[in-house]
């Protein structure tokens, strides 16, 4: 590709947000270049472990601990030999923090980004999520409200397919649902008990981007209940760039996709307050070129986009073009995580599960929905499910072997995800003393959980135990691990949307205050993080921003 080629738009990153940007912009007639630093992964043909039993996967799909420690430290136990090819290698792509305050930055490493390996839980945020900052005087107010996003939720949900059950909860709006994955007999029992014992609290079906009805027009087949999504799914049964947005963008004939291409910064014309192009480094050859474009969509993952923005600097300066007000890089958030509760469900051993669902059940937020005297703000929900226990070995020999041919009883386990508040001094920045192979200063994290997050974790553990006990579960146990920020892999914020250009980076259409033709539509945009999973909101906001951007471009204003 010659540097003189011109594109209407460059999309940096090809994950959940980047894929949606490419689809929307090309379908609206723009010629788009989408770049990703990772190698190409084609749908189906580059899923080497799709459908493979353990004995056909290296090390029987158990990641050797020394390998995790040496190369994938930030991924902890997420990484397995079958999904490792989709992740970024931490040793070769370091980031920086002070030892007392570590951060775990889990990064996709291929085209499709984390859309290949994500958890697939898909929720709308509710009106409350967009209003709480203003009402409570925390952080900065969102420039938009639920009603601004609702039609775009519908738009993306109809396209990708979201399974779930209608509940009519004002704090967790329903999506345009396909039928849910059914609850099993133990979960149905628990639902009735829990909702009786705790009026107002609910146990509902998971809401998942795994489809329960075929989408033949997209060459996608409904979920086959294999529960091995993160190896890539040849059925296209869950949302990924490969299965959903990339085919749509390619079908327009207007997409150029360049894998193995790092974007180090955007080029900026300070006089005109416009970005003029993107500086790209070929990951294989090191060749550098600046590709001009009328518009840039930055979708490099929340922290990845902050890295690019922070590194977009005037010659000789350590200060980003977009750091005019000090907001860039501040108020980085994650969800609380690492609180787990479990209990035995009595009886029903005449039933087992056939098939493996990609998700189970959800206990939506019940804290601080109305005025409550609690020692923390906001709330949390639990994701969980019941299954028959695997049999434990006793002794050895034929008796042990044959004793392991029946399941144990039903066990229900759940884990909390909760909202973290925006603190301006939870920041990322560049460390100019350390540079990566492309000469980019390393991204440095200074992010900690505070009193509100720790008290929320206390409450999630205590309430979780109380609910399961009171609902009639036995042998209720819980644990709470040390939560290193980033471990929930819901890191967000740092380039928040806001009404006030003095305290935010983006306006109500994800448009940079300092550059009308620069849009940031991944998790970096968040002014607060709700307690539900964010990816569906990335999709809706990206589609909304693309619509706005193309209208502005056609109107000649950008």
């Amino acid at each position: 590709m010659a540097a003189t080629d011109r594109f209407d738009a460059i999309v940096i990153g090809s994950g959940v947000s980047g894929g949606w940007a490419a689809k929307e912009l090309t379908e609206k007639g723009l010629r788009v270049l989408m770049v990703d630093r990772g190698r190409m992964v084609e749908h189906g043909e580059d899923y080497p472990y799709d459908g493979k039993p353990a004995f056909e996967i290296p090390a029987r799909n158990r990641m050797p601990a020394a390998f995790t420690k040496s190369d994938y430290k930030g991924l902890n136990f997420w990484v397995q030999p079958a999904n490792q090819p989709f992740f970024t290698n931490d040793r070769l792509n370091p980031y920086d923090f002070d030892a007392p305050n570590p951060f775990h930055w889990v990064r996709g490493g291929v085209v499709g980004g984390k859309s290949l390996t994500w958890g697939r839980w898909s929720f709308r945020w509710g009106p409350n999520d967009f209003e709480a900052n203003q009402r409570e005087g925390i952080g900065t107010d969102w420039p938009i409200r639920y009603d601004d996003v609702a039609p775009w939720y519908s738009y993306v949900e109809k396209y990708i397919g979201v399974s779930g059950g209608r509940e009519n909860l004002d704090y967790l709006p329903d999506s345009e649902f396909m039928p849910p994955f059914p609850m099993n007999v133990a979960e149905k029992w628990l639902k009735e008990r829990l909702e009786t014992e705790f009026p107002g609290r609910k146990l509902i079906n998971a809401r998942l981007s795994n489809i329960t009805e075929d989408k033949p027009e997209q060459n996608r087949t409904r979920c086959q209940k294999r529960a091995q999504c993160d190896r890539g799914c040849s059925f296209g049964a869950y949302f990924s760039t490969q299965a959903v947005t990339l085919p749509a963008a390619r079908a327009t004939g207007r997409l150029t996709l360049r894998p193995d291409t790092w974007a180090t910064n955007v080029e900026y014309d300070a006089a005109k307050k416009r970005v003029t192009g993107v500086r790209l480094v070929n990951a294989n050859t090191g060749a550098v070129e600046v590709v001009p474009a009328r518009m840039v969509f930055l979708c490099a993952s929340a922290m990845g986009s902050l890295h690019v923005l922070l590194n977009s600097r005037p010659e000789g300066s350590e200060r980003s073009h977009f750091h005019s007000n000090g907001a860039l890089g501040s108020a980085v958030m994650d969800h609380i995580f690492k609180v787990n509760i479990g209990g035995d469900v009595p009886g029903m051993t005449e039933f087992v599960e056939y098939g493996r669902r990609p998700g189970g059940v959800y206990v939506p937020r019940f804290r601080n929905l109305k005025a409550e005297e609690l020692p923390f703000k906001r709330g949390y929900g639990y994701q969980g499910g019941a299954s028959r226990r695997q049999p434990a070995p006793e002794g050895f020999g034929a008796a042990m072997k044959h004793g392991m041919r029946t399941y144990g009883g039903w066990r229900f386990n759940m884990s909390a995800f909760g909202e973290c508040l925006p603190y301006d001094d939870n920041r990322v920045m560049l460390n100019f003393a350390k540079k990566d192979a492309r000469g980019m200063p390393l991204l440095r994290f200074d992010v900690t959980f505070r009193d509100n997050e720790l008290k929320m974790m206390d409450d999630a553990q205590a309430e979780g135990e109380r609910m399961l006990r009171q609902a009639g579960l036995t042998n209720v146990t819980s644990n709470r691990g040390t939560h290193i920020p980033g471990e929930a892999i819901h890191e967000m914020g740092g380039a928040r949307m806001g009404r006030d250009p003095g305290t935010s980076v983006l306006n109500g259409f994800n448009q940079a205050h300092d550059a009308a033709n620069l849009f940031v539509t991944d998790g970096a945009m968040m002014a607060s993080v709700s307690c539900v999973n964010p990816s569906l909101t990335f999709m809706a906001m990206t589609a909304r921003a693309a619509d706005h951007a193309v209208k502005q471009m056609k109107a000649g204003t950008i």
Partner: protein, 200 residues
């Protein structure tokens, strides 16, 4: 692929089996005493590759034969094949040679030596030459910690055998029932309809 009971609370087995509960599937089975499957560092490669070829040689021929014999006593051939037919000894050597660090190796090698020493004392022959009943007696002593370091070795060795077995073709396809593409989900499937539990 789980072999044990999941007594402790853990990331739930259903909110995402593949990513969120990688820990549940492994650590949850054996609790805190997980015998870590570890790798040799392959520092000369940009990203280490997990060896899937022949295992690096760790055992002497006599040790290898004893590992095979003890594996088979733990997971014997009954109406389905046992550990040897499932390739468990080869798996264990892979674990020790390619996917483990020396601490783990020392525990296994030390346990084998202790069993051999007890066999010499009790039966005047190495454990490999002992009868099946004598090998079972040695394993029982080991399990009950009546041999120095026995219980620790037994737990680690049994984990290796069970993990190797239930992730093998025999374990997945014959000892358990394999559903590569279930197609549907039934959360109230009659237990009476299955005579083998499902491979996970």
């Amino acid at each position: 692929m789980d072999q044990g009971g999941t007594m402790a609370a853990e990331p739930s087995a259903h909110f995402s089996l593949d990513r969120r509960t990688a820990l549940a599937g492994i650590a949850g089975v054996f609790g805190a005493s997980l015998f870590a499957p570890l790798a040799r560092a392959a520092g000369y490669e940009p990203i280490p590759k997990i060896n899937t070829g022949k295992p690096a040689v760790v055992f002497t021929p006599a040790q290898r034969a004893l590992v095979a014999a003890l594996s088979e006593r733990i997971m014997p051939t009954t109406d389905t094949p046992g550990a040897i037919a499932a390739g468990v000894p080869d798996y264990i050597e892979h674990m020790m040679g390619d996917w483990a660090v020396s601490d783990d190796r020392d525990l296994i090698l030390g346990g084998l030596a202790a069993i051999d020493a007890r066999s010499m004392a009790d039966f005047q022959k190495p454990a490999l030459k002992a009868s099946s009943a004598q090998q079972d007696a040695l394993l029982t002593l080991t399990m009950n910690d009546a041999i120095p370091g026995g219980a620790k070795f037994f737990e680690a060795f049994r984990q290796l055998v069970l993990t190797g077995y239930f992730t093998s073709e025999v374990g997945i396809m014959q000892e358990r029932s394999y559903l590569p593409v279930p197609g549907d989900y039934d959360g109230a499937y009659p237990a009476s309809k299955i005579d083998r539990i499902f491979s996970s």
